[in-house]
Symmetry: C2
Subunit: 273 residues, 2 copies
Amino acid sequence: MSETVYAKQGFNDVNRYKHQATYDVETIHAIVNNTPVLHVSFVPDPAIPAPVVLPMIGQLGLYPGDESKGELDWKCYLHGYVSSRLMKLADDAVKRGEEGLPLCVAATKVDGFVLTLTPNSHNYNYRSAVLHGFGTVVEDVEEKIWAMKLITNSVVPNRYDNTRVPPDGAEMQSTRILKLKISGASGKVREGVPEDERKDMKREDVLDSVWTGVIPVYEKLGEPQAGPYNRVKEIPEHVRRFVDEENEKREQYAFNAAGKPAPLKRPKKNDEN
Amino acid sequence: MSETVYAKQGFNDVNRYKHQATYDVETIHAIVNNTPVLHVSFVPDPAIPAPVVLPMIGQLGLYPGDESKGELDWKCYLHGYVSSRLMKLADDAVKRGEEGLPLCVAATKVDGFVLTLTPNSHNYNYRSAVLHGFGTVVEDVEEKIWAMKLITNSVVPNRYDNTRVPPDGAEMQSTRILKLKISGASGKVREGVPEDERKDMKREDVLDSVWTGVIPVYEKLGEPQAGPYNRVKEIPEHVRRFVDEENEKREQYAFNAAGKPAPLKRPKKNDEN
């Protein structure tokens, strides 16, 4: 954990299961940057309060040319299933003199299924982060290339320099990057063993009959499969190392989360707004 | 694939990578019901077009008491990190005589990282579904218990009947279920081998130097870890079978997706709105 935190401003306060909440910038950035798909929501028509949420690939980072007072100034760069609608909405907002298109971005990782004595106490081990802010389309060519590299390398480290780069004119034109300036953020982390309520912990018949424990869950990377027009015989070092190291790291995280004593207490009844 | 489809109504049309789109009800339901975390978005204040997106646990199903013309009438039941805010908003909408709170729910599964010759052609194998509709709080006690069972069993099949049930009065009171009536839905599926553009497929230097292929990705279930107050010595059949069968099924899906020839063509340049 770093010492920098996102300020609580009402709209980003965690009101449920507060004991699992975090505003730590480093923790939140790590959750976002380790999630392969982010879920991005926006409102297509300001006159109708109906949101849309779409899966996108994205990554937090600080562009060297960007002004910064530190980690709080990191932006979230989004790429992928950016419909033209979303880009147009962001452009329109800027044209109207607004800061950008209001966006909310969520990143969630499941680390385990926590099986308890009763359905109500069942839980997940998980890490989640939610970012609030304003999205604008990246127009600066250098920043756009920097963001494309950041996002490509988030899928497989060092992948960008191991492909045919730089992008040509047509590729630059067809690719769009949305940049989220963060106005607030929060995270939640649950790890640990099952926890049940006192009333069930007293029941011998229940304790004797219901298995309780954690099924660790992690995203496994399978053996890389060469494609039909691949000519490079050996799986390259950057791919091989990524698969091996990530698998070990992810498995360890999920098992550690399952085995650790729960660091925090169960929520009290009034721990809601 | 079933023969029933969600109607295209504009707001749920897929406008980008249309060749990967599906409106097939059975496909969309399967994606949602196999995703451990759904991302639910809503607009907290109708006067401000700023959405919020939250991770929640949910499941599609048809309550036996519910009127039905078939699969199109399935509802999405949401449980878990339902903040009181979300419940209050849904109640307020109903009180105003509206159909419910406008919601959008997304489910996404990553099945592989598709590594191509250039960063721009990089892709994921994935399955995603987006549901649009209106959320109301389930008040009927029988339907609520039915939904709690549906959701618990979506984490581990048959788990509900292997725990201390039924929920008591306090548990019924503290649990809330949100029911989404679907007004439109769409899905997207990408599977298959890498695909590059013709201009790069002609370059011997690129083909000779860049490894192309797919890293299969799937959610792995680790060996179940008994908790500190567990007394049941053997891992029960419903947990053991779930872990073994799911792991085999998931691994197979990801490898099949990686190895299959791509069934559909690359998007054309004008395949966007």
